[in-house]
């Protein structure tokens, strides 16, 4: 089950390299796997994640496609119903909106409305863009659109381990359509691959407890997991606060028990998502807690995400648009102390993107 993590354990893999190996594992492990997407055969190879696969596995298995997102999603469905395992890729989440009809009306429902006669296992990969002026149509984080719909399994890997573990399981063993939402800013982040991490021990397609703490629970997605861990580290060092951090990972089917157990312990909850708060992951995690045991909360929940606007291009506005280490640590300090004037010195960091290797393409 864990063969990819086993294979790379002890090494350091960037998110990009993990994706490359996961795609390689998919193609080599199952001759029915095909990859279809714009640019998957070119010299950039979908940000390096499909590089040279068209020569290694043949152009009939690794296909550059016309700009025809809706048809491609439908073609993936037809192919899946008839024995192929399609991996369909989108360089940005935003472009996948062009195939919403196929994804929501058909792919998500095909098994159910046929009374279980059909299965359509497939993987649709899409990438969130952020920083360097990605702007209105290259930055959206639409996990809630997909996770809203029964029939779709939606993951947001935050770690190379997640990719190795989940993709291997999805492609080789999972019989339903999966949407994986990757984050462009994570591509160059390096991770240690460990055999006994929470990622390798937990079930695939679940949530992971990535840090223990008693003061507050932070439920986070994708790059916000790394941000939550940075904030937790800062507050542990500078204020003696201990945050518990949950990597939601499988946003469509989160580990509710893990969330409840943590909230029971800390009594305080922050949700940090990559998207807008309204009607999204923030709202959904609140629903879970409210339906199960709202009385566990000692104080009101705090949520962090994008401001309720379209993503602006100007850097000054973009820095206000997203939460950063300062806003995140500020939120934690507030919720734990119960005061706005908590007296905890906050880190002087206003642009989270600057903390990562400054992203300026290739896009």
């Amino acid at each position: 089950m864990n063969s990819l993590i086993d294979k790379f354990s002890g090494s350091v893999l960037s998110y990009r390299e993990a994706l490359f190996h996961a795609m390689d594992d998919a193609l080599s492990g199952n001759p029915k796997v095909i990859i279809m997407g714009q640019g998957v055969t070119d010299h950039k190879g979908l940000f390096g994640t499909t590089l040279n696969f068209s020569s290694k596995y043949g152009r009939d298995r690794v296909l550059d496609t016309p700009l025809a997102e809706e048809a491609l999603a439908g073609i993936a469905l037809g192919a899946s119903l008839n024995g192929l395992y399609p991996i369909n890729t989108h360089m940005r989440v935003d472009f996948s909106l062009c195939c919403m009809n196929q994804v929501v009306n058909l792919i998500a429902k095909y098994k159910y409305m046929s009374g279980g006669q059909f299965e359509c296992p497939m993987l649709i990969r899409m990438v969130i863009g952020r920083s360097w002026g990605q702007g209105a149509q290259h930055s959206q984080s639409l996990q809630s659109f997909f996770a809203h719909v029964p029939g779709l399994t939606v993951i947001m890997p935050s770690h190379s381990d997640s990719i190795l573990k989940d993709y291997h399981y999805i492609v080789h063993s999972y019989r339903a359509p999966v949407i994986s939402i990757e984050h462009r800013l994570l591509y160059d982040v390096k991770f240690n691959i460990e055999q006994n991490s929470v990622y390798s021990n937990d079930d695939p397609l679940s949530s992971h407890l990535v840090r223990n703490g008693n003061d507050v629970t932070i439920v986070a997605t994708s790059i916000m997991v790394l941000e939550a861990l940075r904030a937790a580290q800062y507050l542990s060092t500078n204020a003696g606060l201990e945050c518990e951090v949950i990597d939601l990972n499988c946003v469509s089917h989160p580990d509710k028990e893990m969330i409840m157990n943590s909230v029971e312990k800390t009594g305080r909850l922050i949700i940090a998502d990559t998207s807008w708060q309204a009607y999204g992951v923030c709202a959904e995690v609140c629903r879970i807690v409210c339906e199960k045991a709202p009385s566990l909360l000692k104080v009101p929940v705090l949520t962090l995400g994008m401001q309720p606007a379209t993503c602006p291009t100007a850097k000054t506005l973009e820095d206000y648009f997203y939460p950063n280490l300062q806003t995140l640590t500020g939120a934690i300090a507030r919720i734990v102390s119960g005061k706005t004037n908590h007296g905890i010195p906050l880190p002087d960091e206003h642009s989270m993107a600057d903390a990562y290797k400054k992203f300026r393409g290739p896009f």
Binding site: Q38, G39, D42, H43, K44, D64, T65, P66, L67, A68, E69, E70, A71, D94, F95, L97, C98, W132, G133, Q134, G135, A136, Q137, H138, Q307, P308, A309, T310, P312, T313, A314, K315, T316, L317, Y320, F321, R360, G361, P362, F363
Partner: protein, 309 residues
């Protein structure tokens, strides 16, 4: 600026766009333009030839490779640089950037970075012009990549069915990012467009603004009188990488020979006397625009949530 003839005027406009794009290349390493840029270098003559006969009241809809059309349609140069700099004084107040330029005052109706997505907007604008008895015409500009998309076909059909005053302009640089048309299309663009019942035209000399102007201005007069759709495919050549400020001729996805033969015909590279004549005054204008952008202020927190609804 006084010109001896139309040729000089078109040359001046095309050279201005080239020099603006070259200024962007020069500025880019300073990180003052913090956004992706899809440069028009090599394609300026198409924009200039298309826009020359259009009036301010005529509308044009473009895409994320839109610098040339914004400028050719008469968009303000200062507001252009300010927009790229993400300043408050930009044409979109820093919220749109290079990929989403807009200038309603000159009929530049906006640009979208979702391939093919503004084609139906142009058709809708033509529908409005028809229903409201206006006499302006609409131009929809898109690349060969947009022709792949379903919405392009749906929009062409509607325009023909409803007999709308629109000109479709396919700028064919043979590339969508790194994919050639032959790798994406099993049909001929013009044959196919013609099947929607729209008269089609071809211009092979996309480097030659006078030829583009000659062919396109005839279509403009045609649509002004008949109020019926027309379609033109104009061959062109993108000199730079798809996005960014570098050349990528060594990447191997296209022929260097072909680019070189195109450059050999490009007036903006070969007509030294005219370049020398106009360059100083154009550069002065560009410097002023860049200074304007530099001196302008940033948008502030209070701007973040304006214009949402």
């Amino acid at each position: 600026m006084k010109f001896n003839d139309l040729y000089e005027e078109l040359f001046y406009k095309a050279l201005s766009i080239r020099l603006v794009e070259e200024k962007i290349i020069e500025l880019y390493p300073t990180d003052k333009i913090e956004s992706p840029v899809h440069l028009s270098i090599g394609q300026e003559a198409v924009a200039v030839g298309v826009c020359q006969e259009l009036r301010t009241t005529d509308l044009i809809f473009s895409n994320n490779r839109g610098h040339a059309y914004y400028l050719a349609k008469g968009g303000d140069l200062k507001e252009f640089f300010a927009e790229l700099y993400g300043k408050n004084t930009g044409c979109c107040r820093g919220k749109g950037g290079s990929m989403h330029l807009a200038a309603t005052d000159v009929g530049f109706m906006g640009a979208s970075a979702i391939v093919a997505s503004t084609i139906p907007h142009a058709v809708g604008a033509a529908l409005a012009a028809k229903k409201l008895n206006k006499n302006h015409i609409i131009t929809s500009v898109f690349g060969d990549g947009a022709v792949d998309e379903g919405v392009y076909h749906e929009a062409l059909n509607f325009a023909s069915l409803h007999k709308l005053p629109i000109i479709f302009v396919c700028e064919n640089n043979d590339l969508a990012v790194h994919s050639r048309t032959t790798e994406r299309q099993a049909f001929k663009i013009l044959d196919h467009a013609g099947n929607y019942g729209i008269p089609t035209h071809y211009c092979a000399e996309g480097y030659d603004f006078t030829e583009v102007y000659r062919v396109f201005s005839r279509l403009v007069s045609e649509v002004r009188t008949t109020r019926l759709p027309q379609y033109i495919e104009i061959k062109t050549c993108r000199y730079m990488e798809h996005v960014g400020v570098n050349e990528d001729y060594n990447a191997g996805y296209r022929s260097i020979k072909q680019i070189e033969s195109w450059k050999a015909k490009d007036p903006l590279m070969n007509q030294k006397a005219l370049i020398d004549k106009f360059k100083p005054s154009i550069l002065k204008e560009i410097e002023e625009a860049v200074m304007f952008a530099e001196d302008s202020s940033w948008p502030e927190l209070t701007d973040l949530l304006t214009d949402v609804i």
